[in-house]
Amino acid sequence: MSKLRHFLEQSWLLIVSAFFFGVLIAIANAAWSPRIERNKVEKLNRLMRGLVAGAADFKPAGELEVKSPKGQKMVSSLYRAVSETNMPVGWVFTCEGSGFQDKIELVVATDKDFRKFAGYAVLSSNETPNFGDKIKQSYFRSQFNGAPVETLELLKTGDDKIIDGKIVAITGATVSSQAVVDIINNAAGQIRNQVQEKGWLRNAR
């Protein structure tokens, strides 16, 4: 009994403060976590709205499993973009993969038949500032608007104004550019197959 007493004598402050701090954290969490959730959702919505013109709402169409080229399993969120009159206007999905420095997360949009890309936006990335970071800039991203949903190819030089399956890399940021192309190729192919299997493309007019 005296051992327990000794233990309590030494650590009562620790136990009491742990309890008190626990309450403090719980209060802060309860107060702010709804807002934190809202922030995350709003960011995604904002990016999606910027990609698909004419979309009034994005209906979640499920969490699909996408395999990386190495066989790693990743989860992509798929959304169906619909207009105000509830007509399908496109598809949006999230995808990720490794870039030059760390993970790159993208939000990609296609037209309603999943035949052409409508563009992409960067959800999160940690690429080299002024080099790989340029994957966020519109002059690189605009090459994807209207590009066909098939295996995109990266070129070191070329005319970036021609919209086709060939993407011109950012000068000095070949690895980051290649990463974006690879991530989009990998995810788009698998997601299109899964969407086709579910018969969702047949219903789209």
């Binding site: 719980a26 190495k70 490794s98 030059f100 760390d102």
Partner: protein, 196 residues
């Protein structure tokens, strides 16, 4: 064999490409302070590797088996730091009692390691990267420690030579060490993009 390759790749990437000291800015304080001589640097590196492997494994287990399962992620930082502080104290007591000769070589560094950003930093990165298997967490923690040891030993080697050079007065000590570290970082940038 795929798992083994994946683990090997993870190990190499954290030692060379995502080196804790040179790319993630973790563990700078001991890096600057203890890298005066190679034997001290190596001792510090060993101590850090030992603690970081233990801490990384324990925190992964707590994170996945308790915190995420019961939705208590908000207490993550508190749990991690208590586990690390507790683990360091236990390790120190254990090493002092059962391996006194080992304690001679790196035991004195152990109390310093609690506030070493590298340990907590690695545990947080492991949870940030959503590492899904215990084995990968162990390999990454061990790799992190090895990367730290490597960086600190290289730095110690360079500093031992710098002691013989004629460094201007205001640059002596921390400034020249920092500049050297910067150049080391530049050199290591060559490894980036090695692993896809």
């Amino acid at each position: 064999m795929d798992t083994v390759t994946a683990l090997l790749v993870a190990f190499i990437s954290i030692v060379l490409i995502k080196n804790l000291v040179l790319t993630k800015f973790l563990g700078i304080c001991p890096y600057l302070g203890v890298s005066g001589r190679i034997d001290m640097a190596f001792g510090m590196g060993l101590a850090v590797t030992f603690v970081i492997t233990l801490a990384g494994t324990l925190t992964w287990m707590i994170d996945h088996w308790i915190l995420i399962r019961y939705g208590l992620e908000v207490t993550r930082y508190v749990c991690f730091i208590l586990v690390i502080a507790g683990a360091v104290q236990l390790v120190e007591m254990y090493v002092r009692k059962f391996f006194p000769s080992l304690y001679e070589s790196f035991g004195i560094f152990l109390p310093l390691i609690t506030t070493n950003c590298a340990i907590l930093g690695l545990c947080l990165f492991i949870s940030l990267w959503a590492v899904s298997s215990l084995l990968e967490a162990v390999v990454l923690s061990f790799g992190g420690g090895i990367g730290f040891t490597m960086a600190i030993c290289i730095m110690a080697g360079i500093r031992e030579n710098l002691n013989l050079a004629d460094v201007p007065k205001s640059l002596r000590g921390a400034p020249i060490t920092l500049i050297t570290a910067g150049l080391l970082t530049l050199a290591f940038m060559g490894f980036a993009g090695m692993v896809k």
